[in-house]
């Protein structure tokens, strides 16, 4: 098997704060192959952004503490010099963010901002960068790019701005595109269009994609593999079929239960998981999900469950329940109507 594009090994990211050390990411490992789409799913605050911002080395907080390694194309990004890292950023790995309204600089035209990125990483002649920027705007589906290229971000709608961000990210043909909640701030119809666009461009540009979201529904269509994160750790990992049709972790069941689905009665549609995530400063002993887990039992309090494969190739989860117990209880949690009628 070929070497993976990206390999994150036992990554830990903490922040020193007045209240203590916040362990935002607490020992995460995963790999990503070339051209693969990886979904990272979890509630807000579970460490998704911090993980991928660390990969980009974009965390500027001076109180951050890192451990672990991030191997990209055989090089450890954590050991790269600032300048070497700048070459990677934007050119090899690009990132788009949640809020397209605030992610573009309001005082420059969108064309200027794309050209700035192109000129940073390429030796382009005058006019070349502009032509390329116009092409990119056309590729991301912005009508009349020859006019819109001289418009300022505030002259675009939210969805159009996210398209501009995508054009910006793809401008140097990156091998890895990180999309951090790219559709969260957008209307539902626009969300679908942006996801479709990412899917198509991924095919066209052949880059690998990490798609971060708090909504499992968003990755259902796009992702090859899915990581489920909770309180700074991965609690379940598997391919799309495994996560959607045979989810092993009670937290994943909860996330599946909160996907908006039209085939359910209205009242049952959006049931968020009850309770609050644990403190990242004083992590409770045992399973970090146990305070909210309806299935919790004695062992959950005493022992920290490890992420291991129990049901199939590449399908890992961190829960003490036996596979039989899980499958039996799962149906009651995710599809209570079905369980009731059965």
């Amino acid at each position: 098997m070929a070497e993976p594009l990206l390999e994150v090994r036992d990554l830990k990211v903490s922040f020193r704060t007045e209240d203590g050390i916040v362990r935002a990411v607490d020992g995460i490992s995963f790999t990503l192959d070339e051209g693969e789409v990886l979904g990272i799913v979890g509630e807000s605050g579970s460490g998704k952004s911090v993980t991928m911002m660390t990969v980009m080395r974009l965390i500027t907080d001076p109180n951050v503490i890192y451990q672990g390694s991030i191997i990209y194309k055989g090089r450890d990004l954590m050991g790269l010099s600032r300048d070497a890292m700048r070459e990677v950023r934007g050119e090899e790995i690009a990132m788009i963010f949640q809020d397209p309204m605030t992610s573009l600089n309001p005082v420059y035209t969108v064309g200027w901002q794309i050209e700035e990125q192109l000129n940073e990483h390429n030796d382009l002649k005058k006019g070349q960068a502009r032509r390329r920027a116009m092409e990119l705007l056309a590729q991301v589906g912005i009508p009349k790019p020859e006019q819109r290229i001289d418009d300022y971000p505030h002259q675009f709608s939210g969805g159009m701005r996210q398209r501009v961000m995508i054009a910006l990210a793809l401008s140097c043909n990156p091998d890895l595109l990180i999309a951090d909640e790219p559709t969260t701030a957008l209307d539902v119809t626009i969300q679908a269009q942006i996801l479709e666009l990412i899917k198509n461009l991924k095919r066209e540009f052949g880059s690998a994609v990490v798609l971060i979201t708090h909504d499992l529904g968003v990755v259902a269509d796009v992702a090859d593999r899915i990581l489920v994160m909770y309180a700074g750790r991965i609690v379940e990992e598997g391919n799309k079929e495994q996560i959607f049709y045979d989810p092993q972790h009670p937290y994943t069941w909860g996330l599946l239960g909160s996907i908006a689905r039209l085939d359910r009665p209205r009242a049952r549609r959006l049931t968020a998981i009850a309770g609050q995530p644990p403190s990242l400063i004083n992590r409770p002993q045992g399973c970090s999900f146990r305070t909210r887990c309806p299935q919790a039992f004695d062992r959950c309090r005493a022992e920290d469950p490890q992420l291991t494969a129990k049901v199939g190739d590449g399908h890992l989860d961190a829960c003490h329940l036996s596979v039989e117990d899980k499958r039996e209880r799962r149906d009651k949690t995710i599809n209570p109507e079905l369980a009731e009628t059965a």
């Binding site: 605030t102 573009l104 600089n105 700035e116 940073e120 990483h121």
Partner: protein
């Protein structure tokens, strides 16, 4: 753009008119003010007062008197001071270059140094230099300008004047730029530095706060994600958007100073500028001079606010000129 300029000019005319009427009315509503008596000298006869009143049009109705004053100010340009009996317009036109020289020079110094200190403090955040610079800035803000001016004079004009350091410093006063540029510069350098200290402190603090606020904006993160150098992120993105507040503050402070707000510096360094002129006319309740200096100041302030709006729209495309 043309519509903007026309609108602003009309607005300026309206403001100047309103201010002049207001000053005029305040003057005549002030008890104990009788210019004819002032002009007539000690123990004047009733005849003398009457003839003075007639000569200066003081026996006419208020609107007519206002009209006459405006006519003398703008059309015949021969408005006479009640106090010194000299023409007012030449007084203003000879005082304005002094004030403009003082304020322009000080402004250049304060822009350069406040940007330098503000950026340095923001970049060095987390080291001892940031609080050190900010304390320095606070001291600069707190020092009264007349005190600082006196200390500077004490050092450069008397105590250390004979040392090699300050022997080049000419006596206090003003020499026009056109007459002797080098002398102009030598006489103004200490007034410039003295006047700019307060503004350097204030603008450095404002800029630092703005830079730090901008630093946490999402588009700065985007700029870093693009792989730009820290220097480019700082100058092309963080500083560029932080200048918006800086520029609008600057326009108004500058206008107030040009309009006569640099009075204390002018007094301490013996510069016969607009501030001094205004101050003297106010203490003498000399209406023609008060009127002229107020209109002069209002002109610069409205002009500056129009310029600020222009620059603002250029710096921040979200602001549309309407």
């Amino acid at each position: 753009m043309l519509a903007f300029i026309v609108r602003r000019l009309l607005w300026m005319a309206l403001v100047l008119f309103a201010i002049s009427v207001l000053v005029f009315l305040i003057f005549f509503a002030t008890p104990g003010v009788d210019p004819a008596r002032q002009m007539a000298g000690r123990n004047p006869s009733a005849e003398t007062i009457k003839s003075i009143k007639h000569e200066f049009g003081l026996d006419r109705s208020l609107p007519v008197r206002y009209g006459l004053m405006m006519k003398h100010m703008f059309i015949t340009r021969d408005l006479i001071s009640y106090g010194s009996h000299t023409r007012v317009i030449p007084e203003i036109t000879s005082a304005a270059p002094v004030t403009l020289s003082l304020v322009f020079g000080a402004a250049i110094i304060w822009i350069v140094f406040s940007i330098l200190f503000g950026v340095a403090a923001a970049v060095l955040r987390g080291t001892v230099f940031d609080p050190l610079l900010m304390i320095l800035a606070l001291i600069g803000i707190s020092i009264p300008v007349f005190w600082l001016g006196e200390v500077v004079n004490l050092i450069t004009q008397s105590r250390l004047h004979d040392s090699f350091l300050f022997s080049w410093v000419p006596p206090l006063g003003y020499t026009p730029l056109t007459q002797d540029p080098f002398m102009w510069f030598k006489q103004l350098i200490f007034p410039w530095l003295t006047l700019s200290v307060l503004y350097i402190g204030f603008y450095a603090r404002v800029l630092r706060a703005n830079l730090i606020e901008t630093e946490s904006e999402d588009y700065i993160r985007t700029a870093r994600a693009k792989g730009l150098s820290e220097r480019r992120v700082l100058f092309r993105h963080t500083l560029r958007t932080s200048m918006i507040t800086f520029v609008s503050l600057f326009g108004l402070d500058f206008a107030v100073l040009v309009g006569g707000g640099a009075l204390l510096t002018e007094v301490v360094f013996g510069l016969p500028g607009v501030g001094l002129l205004t101050f003297n006319s106010l203490t003498a309740l000399d209406l023609p001079v008060i009127m002229t200096t107020v209109i002069y100041a209002a002109f610069f302030i409205t002009l500056a606010s129009a310029l600020v709006d222009l620059v603002y729209a250029w710096l921040d495309p979200r602001v549309r000129l309407a």
